[in-house]
C-alpha cells in the first residue's frame, strides 16, 4: 500500500512541478474567460461612451424628453455618462440636409486608423412623421452592434410611447406608470414539480457540465497515455515491476495524474468563482436586460454529488483505457491510431450529451445512461434538468461500475505485458494473446 502511495505521490509531484502544468493552470481561466466572452462578442461589442448628434426636426422639439432617461445612464460603475447628446434643432424640411452636413464628423480616424473618441458615434434624426409612424432614423458607426442598437431602440420605444400618451393629454405620472418596465421571471417545471431553476440557467448548467467533464477527461487520458509510452522507453519499468505489481503501477499512474488534473480543475474552478464575485455581474458590455445570462447559477448539492460520482467513474474508465493504449505503443505517433477506439467512446459521450441537452427524457438519452462510456456525460446533464428516478440512477451506476471493473481488468492485462514489450507494434492477435495469458 505504501508503495502504491509512493507511486501516486511521484506521479502527482512530478506533474505538478512541470512548466506545462503551471502554464496550463494559468492559461485555463484565460481560455474560459475568452469562451465566456465569445457570445457577448458575437452579440456585438458594445461601445464605450458615445457622442450622438440629434437632428431634431419635430415641431414640439421632443428630443430632450425622449432622450432624458438615456442621458442619465452611467457607464459601468463610474461617473462617466454613457451617452452625450448634441441636439441640433432644425426646421422639418431641413432635416436631411443638416444630417448630411454632419455626416463627415461621424467616426473620424486618426493617422493610425483608430477611431477618434471625440468624434461623433452617430446621428439620430427625429421628425414628426417618424414619431407618428414609429420610425426614427439612426446613422452611426456602431449599427453592427446588436447590443448598442437594441438598447437604443428599447429606450426610444418606451420614450416615444410615453410622448404619445402625453400628446393624448395623459399626465406624466400616468405615462410613467403605464410604461414601467416588465420583466419575466422564469422557473422550470419538470413532471409537475418546480425544479427551482430558471430555464436559461438549466441550459447553461448542462452545457458547462459537459464541457468541464470533457476537459477533465480527455487531456488527462492523453497525458496518462503519453506518460506510459515515455516510461516504456526507460528501463526503470523493470526495476519497478520487480518490486510492485504492474497493476499497482497502472493504478498509481492513473490516480497520480488524476489527482494533478483535479488540482488544476480545482484551481480553475476557484479562480472562476473569485473572478465571478469580483466582476459582480456588472459587465461593461450590454445593458443588464439584454445580457445573456452567463453567470453560473447556484448548483444544487445533489447535482454536485451525481457529477462527482460520474466523473470518478468516467475518469477510471477512460484513464485505464488510455493507459492500456500507451502500453501497446512504442512511440507517441503509434498511439494516434491505437487510441482511436477510446477517443471514439469519449466523443460519443460528449456529442451524445450535446445532442440530448434539450431532450433529457428521450430514448437516446436513456439508452446512453446505461452505457459505461457515455453515461458519465449523459447522466449529470440529465440530472441538471431533473433528478432521475432512483432505480434508474442506481442501475446506471451499477452498469458503470461493472464497465469500470471490466476496463480496469482488461487494461491491467494489456498493461502487464505491454509495458515490457518493445520492438514491433503488436497486432490485435498479439493483444488477444496478452489478454488471455494467465
Amino acid at each position: 500500500m505504501s508503495k502504491l502511495f509512493a507511486i501516486i505521490r511521484r506521479e502527482f509531484v512530478e506533474r505538478v512541478r512541470t512548466k506545462a502544468f503551471l502554464i496550463g493552470t494559468v492559461m485555463g481561466p484565460l481560455l474560459f474567460y475568452a469562451v465566456g466572452k465569445l457570445p457577448q462578442l458575437m452579440m456585438g461589442k458594445a461601445s464605450g461612451a458615445q457622442t450622438i448628434a440629434v437632428v431634431d426636426a419635430s415641431t414640439a422639439q421632443v428630443s430632450h424628453r425622449l432622450l432624458d432617461s438615456l442621458s442619465r445612464e452611467k457607464l459601468g460603475v463610474g461617473e462617466m455618462r454613457r451617452y452625450r447628446f448634441v441636439t441640433v434643432a432644425v426646421a422639418p424640411d431641413r432635416a436631411t440636409a443638416v444630417r448630411d452636413s454632419i455626416l463627415p464628423s461621424v467616426d473620424q480616424r486618426d493617422e493610425r486608423g483608430d477611431t477618434d473618441p471625440e468624434s461623433l458615434t452617430g446621428i439620430l434624426v427625429v421628425t414628426d412623421t417618424g414619431l407618428a409612424a414609429g420610425r426614427l432614423t439612426y446613422l452611426g458607426r456602431n449599427v453592427g452592434s446588436i447590443g448598442d442598437i437594441s438598447h437604443l431602440e428599447r429606450a426610444l420605444r418606451t420614450a416615444v410611447v410615453r410622448e404619445r400618451m402625453l400628446g393624448m393629454g395623459l399626465s406624466s405620472t400616468v405615462a410613467e406608470a403605464a410604461t414601467a418596465r416588465v420583466d419575466l421571471t422564469t422557473a422550470k417545471v419538470t413532471k409537475g414539480k418546480l425544479t427551482g431553476e430558471g430555464a436559461e440557467s438549466a441550459f447553461w448548467l448542462s452545457y458547462v457540465l459537459i464541457i468541464i467533464l470533457f476537459i477533465a477527461l480527455m487531456p488527462t487520458g492523453v497525458q496518462i497515455m503519453s506518460a506510459v509510452v515515455e516510461e516504456k522507453s526507460n528501463r526503470i519499468l523493470e526495476v519497478l515491476v520487480s518490486s510492485v505489481r504492474p497493476f499497482d503501477l497502472m493504478l498509481g499512474k492513473v490516480l497520480g495524474v488524476g489527482a494533478a488534473s483535479l488540482l488544476q480543475l480545482g484551481i480553475w474552478g476557484a479562480s472562476a468563482a473569485v473572478a465571478g464575485r469580483f466582476s459582480g455581474g456588472q459587465g461593461n458590455a450590454v445593458d443588464s436586460a439584454d445580457r445573456v445570462n452567463m453567470t453560473l447559477p447556484t448548483i444544487p448539492t445533489d447535482l454536485i454529488i451525481v457529477t462527482l460520482i460520474y466523473f470518478a467513474l468516467g475518469f477510471l474508465f477512460f484513464a485505464t483505457a488510455y493507459a492500456a493504449v500507451g502500453a501497446m505503443c512504442n512511440t507517441v505517433q503509434e498511439t494516434q491510431q491505437v487510441q482511436f477506439p477510446v477517443m471514439g467512446m469519449l466523443l460519443a459521450g460528449y456529442l451524445g450529451a450535446f445532442a440530448t441537452i434539450g431532450r433529457p427524457e428521450s430514448t437516446a438519452a436513456k439508452i446512453m445512461s446505461f452505457l459505461p462510456p457515455t453515461a458519465p456525460f449523459i447522466v449529470p446533464t440529465r440530472w441538471s434538468n431533473a433528478p432521475l428516478p432512483l432505480t434508474e440512477l442506481l442501475g446506471s451506476i451499477g452498469v458503470c461500475v461493472l464497465g469500470v471493473l471490466g476496463m480496469v481488468w482488461l487494461a491491467a492485462r494489456i498493461y502487464r505485458v505491454g509495458i515490457l514489450s518493445y520492438g514491433k507494434k503488436p497486432s490485435f492477435k498479439d493483444i488477444w494473446v496478452w489478454i488471455r495469458a494467465s
Binding site: 508503495k3 523493470e238 526495476v239 518490486s243 514489450s421 498479439d430
Partner: protein
Amino acid sequence: MNVIEVDRITKRFSGHVAVESLSLSVPQGGIFGLLGPNGAGKSTTIRMILDILIPDEGKVTLFGLPHGARTLSAKIGFLPEERGLYPRMLVLDSLIFLGQMRGLTRVDARHRSLWWLQKVGLSDWAKHKVQDLSKGMQQKVQLVGALLHEPDLLVLDEPFGALDPVNAQVLMDIVLELSRNGKTIVFSTHQMEQAESLCDRVVIINRGKKVVDGTLAEIKAAAGTRNVALTFTRDRQAADPILRDRSLVSRVDDSGMAVELQLAPGAEADRLLEALVKAGCGLSRFELQTPSLRAIFIQKVGPEAATAPAREEVAHV
C-alpha cells in the same frame, strides 16, 4: 542454501526460444557472473529470476523460499542495463523513490540516499535533474538506488557497459566491498576481462543454453594449460612454418614479436620449443599458461557469437 536456484527455465518469444531449459545455482556470498554474447538470453534470464517475466517452463527459487522476487523485493537490489532512472526527476527524489519501492520509508530512504551520494562523491548533484548528469554519474546513481535498502542479493545487468575505465573501477570497488560484506552479487556481462577480475563463479550461456558452469578455477583447470605465450628477439620469420604446422599448433593469436598460441591436441610443448630452437629463432619468453576467460569464452561460444539472433521482444508473457 543457494540464494538463487534456477530449474530448467524456458522462455519463448513469438517463434524463437530466448532461453532453453536453463538451470543454474548461485550460492550465498561471492560474485557470480552470467556471461554470454549479445542476445544470448542473459537479460531474459535475469528478468525471469526477478519476476519481471514469467518462465514458460521451469521455476526459480530465491533464498529457498516459495515466493517470487516481487514479494522478496526488500531483499533484492536490481540495476538494469542503463536508463534505469526518470531523466527529469531530481537525483535525490529518484533515489528516495527507488528506496520506497524496496520498502524503505521516505525519511529512511532520504537519509540513506544522502549518505550514499556523499560516498560516491555526488552530494553536489542531489538537487539536479538526472538528465543533467554524465553517463558515469547516472550509473553511480542507479547503483546507489539498487543498494540503498542493503539487499542480500544484488543483480546487475551489464553494469559497466558504457563506462570509462575510471568510473568502471569506482563501481567495481563498491561491488567488491559489498561482496566482502557477505552480499551475493550476480552480474551479467559480455566483457570477459571484467568477469575474470571480479567473479568467483561464472555461467556462460549462448543462444539460450548453458555452455559453461563452475568456479573460475574449475573452468580454467578444465580448459587445461594448452596455451603458450612466446616473445621473439630475432629471426621471427623463421618460426612461420612451425606456427602453421597444424600437428603442433591449432590456433595463433599473432601480434608480431609476441605470439599466443594454443597447442594442437596431442602435441607437446617441448616439441614446439625444440622446433623453434632448431629453426634458429631467438626467444626471450616461452611460457605455458592457463587460458584467459576470454579465450575460453571464444572457444566455447565460437564464431556463433557474431551471428546472435536479433532481439525480438514482442509478446512477452
